[in-house]
Amino acid sequence: MIEKALKGSSVYWGWIIFLLCLIGAGFMAYLYQLKVGLGITGMSRDISWGVYIAQFTYFVGVAAGGVMVVIPKYLHHYSKYAKIVVFGEFLAIAAVVMCLLFIIVDIGQPMRMMNVILHPTPHSMLFYDMIVLNGYLLLNIICGYNTLLADKKGVPCPGWVKPFIYISIPWAISIHTVTAFLYAGLPGRHFWLTAIMAPRFLASAFAAGPALLIMILLFVRRVTRFDPGMDAIQTVAKTVCYAMIVNLFFMGCEFFTAFYSQVPGHMHTLEYLFSGLDGYGELVPFMRGAIVIGLFGVFLLLVPTIRRNPKWLAVAAASVFLSTWIDKGVGLVIGGFIPNPFETITEYHPTFPEITIAAAIWGVGGLIVTILYKVAIAVREEQAA
């Protein structure tokens, strides 16, 4: 099937070349990082995780979000998702690969990576993260590839794939739960030490992943002969709306606990992120913007006439994606380190090589999505013809 990715328009090839350039530039930057060390990034003794881990966290969510089309299709037999469920799975594949790459570029001794397997450590959440992420990648490859192959042949999906599909549903929940547990079990990091970290991660994941899926499907609908079905897209939009409302509600819960209790440790990071603390507040415009954009997105999705308009729907999905990205892909990880254990503040400024490396991983994700979607769309177009 993969050969279908080799036939495309000049725009298609232009896009592929653009992504390859992005990846190439990031690869050079990574070689530089390997040679000199992680000191080339903006990370420091106080902000010991930065763009890489923040992006990792966000894309675990995008990967888990794919389950929002898998559940209706396989647990509720919602037939309108029959044609798009494979796109959810392929998006998850790309997102998990990005996650794994973000981890690899973040560790100081990548050649020792296998130590995680050589010295398995069940009391470390990172050990479980390794298992669930790799497992989820494998599950989505199995499920995505086989369902598409069956579609191509015009036969029902083979029976042995079904158990893998069912396992992939709780597994999707597990990847983001474990990722939340990386943060939510650390004493002394007040901002992360919250029992609703995992639920909030899942809510934002079920908003962000499907929002990205909507954007891509609307694009696919415009530029290819394959129509994913406006009904299906509308249903995904409703899922995004619910999930985003729950996400904003959870965020409000965090604010309530912090500011009604008035416990300084609980308030400090929120103050830093949303109003500035001790004269520091570089993230304030972004975090406030995230709330405004998120509410705007929810408003667009709530009003049926607006939601049914594909252009406004694209704006709504982009708003939700951007809002959750700022909240989780920037504020959450950086905020956890501010203030530091001495209640002083060091701010974080990612460097050019660091951003180049992160952009390259986005490029890898884009390339995987492009190739897998190209194949899937070609199969769908054949079916329609």
Binding site: V36, G37, L38, G39, T41, M43, S44, R45, D46, S48, W49, I103, D106, I107, G108, Q109, P110, R112, M113, N115, V116, L118, H119, T121, H123, S124, M125, L126, F127, M130, L182, Y183, G185, L186, P187, G188, R189, G265, G336, F337, N340, P341, F342, E343, T344, T346
Partner: protein
């Protein structure tokens, strides 16, 4: 290979410590024997290692804040960083710290009392707390940081993958990461007249490090470098032994420990 080294280190360290017991400026081991001879019993104070091991040794450091001054602080920090070949990057972004000075309000941010003018602005020495319940050990995915039977939280620079999970987990900011190659910088410092301690290894970039309670010196029967540098301000000994010098000091002096509410059970005490 690395497993063997680790086991060897654990065994060697303990044996050396046991051999030391009862001699020198700081007494360490044989608490069980002493207990039996003196008829002492531990009255349920929180001194032991984790419940399962019921270790008879738990090494602890006492820092007499009242005896600290600019001069001995500088000597302590210099001694430690010399002994362990800690580079002096001069830039807070890249810096490595094993022991360093900070003010009361930063050391005890959760119990800071603005009306306490005695402690306000007073210099404290910060180091790894060698917690009895260390979160860094809990989160490390490769057991590169681990707790020895004597309570020392050790770091294996040869196994560490540099994920920095331990830095996020440590509530005391005690851990440093080698963002750049420390050997490159040490070479520059040597050219500028710094001396290297040839008996202690330098590290490579991309791994985490911190205070090790001078485990390499303990193995030779010598006290930690900071204690030797300021014997009237730093005291080291076995917290699990009710008859030890550190326990008798703790019975007489008021002491503070950092962020006790987190349940990490620090082994560093501040005498005030």
């Amino acid at each position: 290979m690395s497993m063997d080294r680790r086991k060897f280190l654990k065994a060697a360290g303990l044996t050396a410590l046991v051999g030391l017991g009862g001699k020198g400026a700081f007494e360490l081991l044989r608490p069980g024997k002493v207990d039996a001879e003196m008829g002492h019993k531990d009255h349920g104070e929180e001194v032991h290692g984790d419940k399962k091991s019921r270790s008879k040794v738990r090494l602890a450091m006492l820092i007499d804040v009242m005896a600290l001054n600019k001069k001995n602080i500088e000597k302590i920090v210099h001694t430690c960083h010399y002994l362990h070949n800690v580079p002096n990057w001069g830039d807070p972004k890249d810096e490595i710290k094993w022991i360093w000075e900070d003010e009361y309000e930063h050391v005890f941010p959760d119990s800071y009392n603005e009306y306490n003018h005695i402690l306000k602005g007073m210099p404290f020495l910060l180091m790894c707390n060698h917690c009895d319940n260390p979160p860094c050990v809990r989160v490390c995915p490769v057991q590169a940081t681990f707790k020895r039977p004597d309570g020392i939280v050790a770091q294996d620079y040869h196994r560490c993958i540099g994920c920095r999970f331990c830095m996020a987990a440590c509530p005391y900011g005690s851990r440093s990461f080698n963002w750049l190659d420390p050997r490159v910088h040490l070479r520059i410092e040597v050219a500028e007249g710094r001396k290297l301690n040839k008996s202690f290894p330098t590290r490579m970039r991309g791994v985490v490090e911190k205070c090790n309670f001078c485990v390499e010196r303990l193995a030779e029967g010598r006290p930690p470098g900071c204690v030797e540098a300021a014997p009237d301000a730093m005291f080291f000994g076995n917290l699990a032994d009710p008859n030890s010098k550190v326990r008798s000091i703790l019975r007489e002096r008021v002491s503070l420990r950092r962020k006790l509410e987190l349940g990490t059970k620090p082994s560093v005490f501040y005498l005030i």
